[in-house]
Subunit: 327 residues, 2 copies
């Protein structure tokens, strides 16, 4: 049975969201789920979900790395933290996959320090699954490596293609390079070099794409360096947030609008869930010799459950093996 270790202390809503999500996942999927964190707290929280599924167990971790802690320093100092123990479990192959919705930087740092990189891969990358008008796309890198060289961008494209094919079910994933314009001549020297590498890669490379193309759905794998990807991710989140805020304000502005808001509440909620990372279950950290899923800090139980589901799928479909074959 696939064994997945979950950081029980990670998210902003920890441990409640984690424990509930783990229980939901344990009931729905045939995975062994290992909850890593302070055992007394986990036990107490588990009591709320009787009967506790038999495929859930606890692995004690004395320390917790907080959201605001400096990644490298905290990983070095807190050897008994749930995140470091998670990485060690993966390194020692005691579990098949690890999942955390905690400090992203610390998780990337611990996983890349402890687990080796896959053969042929020189930098790990965070894959961000995002909704488009026609299905889901993967953006890579979301911030693991902010100084990416052209060959790293090529490796991201290869890893992203494997993920897109086996997890998002795109048969021949279309790969685009995120740039300031569509012409081959666009961008920094590094982007121009990456363009040439991608063109000769044998991947289904469709050329440069622009920020405006992200949601169109004509590109399955969006390749960028970690700085651009990180800014893009956070800009998407904040644009969505500000629009929902403005919409709420607009809907309160008049009687008719208020009435409309009441009637349309369901439609608005369905909109929110479309833009909701919870559906996609978190971001895979690709390139390391382990399966690692990083959840959003504000994950709820559903997001945790989906993160566990995706981690299991990645293992079952041998995504890492496909990456190694393609490199």
């Amino acid at each position: 049975m696939i064994k997945i270790a979950l950081d029980a202390m990670g998210s902003d809503n920890a441990p409640a969201a984690e424990i509930e999500g783990a229980v939901l996942a344990a009931r729905e999927f045939d995975y062994d789920i290992l909850l890593v964190g302070k055992s007394d707290i986990i036990k107490k929280e588990l009591e709320k979900h009787r009967p506790i599924p038999e495929n859930i167990s606890i692995h004690h971790a004395e320390e917790v790395i907080g959201m605001q802690e400096q990644p490298v320093i905290s990983v070095r100092r807190k050897k008994q933290s749930s995140i470091v123990i998670l990485a060690n479990l993966a390194k020692e192959k005691k579990v098949d996959a690890i999942v955390s919705a905690g400090n992203t930087g610390a998780m990337v740092c611990a996983a890349t320090l402890k687990c080796r990189l896959l053969p042929g891969i020189e930098r790990a990358g965070i894959g961000l699954v995002m909704p488009t008008l026609k299905g889901a796309a993967l953006m890579i890198d979301g911030g693991a490596n902010i100084d990416a060289k052209p060959k790293h961008l090529l490796q991201y494209a290869i890893m992203g293609s494997a993920y897109s094919e086996y997890i998002l079910n795109n048969r021949s994933p279309r790969v685009g390079l995120l740039n300031v314009g569509e012409e081959e001549s666009k961008g920094t020297g590094s982007l121009k070099e990456a363009y040439i590498l991608l063109e000769n890669s044998g991947l289904n490379f469709i050329g440069n794409i622009e920020g405006r193309d992200l949601f169109v759905g004509d590109c399955d794998v969006i390749v960028c360096d970690g700085l651009v990807g990180n800014v893009a991710l956070k800009v998407i989140e904040s644009t969505a947030h500000v629009m929902m805020e403005m919409l709420k304000r607009a809907l309160k502005s008049s009687f008719m609008a208020r009435l409309s808001g009441l009637l349309g509440r369901k439609a608005l909620y369905s909109l929110k869930s479309k833009m909701d990372y919870a559906e996609y279950g978190g971001a895979p950290l690709l390139g390391i010799d382990a399966t690692c899923i990083i959840g959003h800090g504000s994950s709820n139980a559903k997001a945790i459950k989906n993160a566990i589901r995706v981690a299991g799928e990645e293992v079952a479909k041998s995504v890492n093996q496909h990456i190694v074959e393609k490199v």
Copy 2:
């Protein structure tokens, strides 16, 4: 009287949007407006707006640079294009400001080639005025210079501060550096150097900000290189667009939602106008010895009118002089 030259052939809706916007501006403001483009087409379009204001005149330009044309090549080849003639008019000080909603790259290229840079400025930058939950902020650079050095980022901060103070009425504009995290240690080597320069600049520097902070409204001038700024801008536009699309679909999904959509139409329109660049009248190209406003390609008449208004304000408030004093 302030004299402003407008590219009549620029936008996707040219010349109708340009001519209508120019007529609206000519009626509302005490500016001399020079329409640059094919005179027969302009004359015909002007006929629709009788009585034609006396402060509108025409300057013939035989050629047009299309939206898809390669900037450097088209500026070099099409010497009789409206964009090149606009830049020449600014260079020869025959007008006080130039405005175009055409090919952004060509406009940046023509303006920086023809007009000199301001003393102390080494790279021009595009300023993007964006709505926040508390007023408007300026992001600079939106894509004029994709390989910005730390000193260029400092110059952007200075120019952005001047614009924010005199045009957006922020007394002591708060300057933030767009980065992947808030700590001083974050980002590429270039961003870390820029951080130190900004800290010692005498500007009201508030440190690094993240993509998620853009719309909060606690930062008035967001400094970034052109690659990041360009991606951010287009991601904002596409996120807003996809959300409106999903909202429309959600509102069509049931009878109650449809009814709600009908009732709430006004609220939705007011939302759209909040996110609407048209309110802000276009992006200033800062750093050149001329006043230059670049409108959005999909500008309507209102956006053109506002772009002309902002161009006039920049001249009236001597923004360039303030930049030179601050450098």
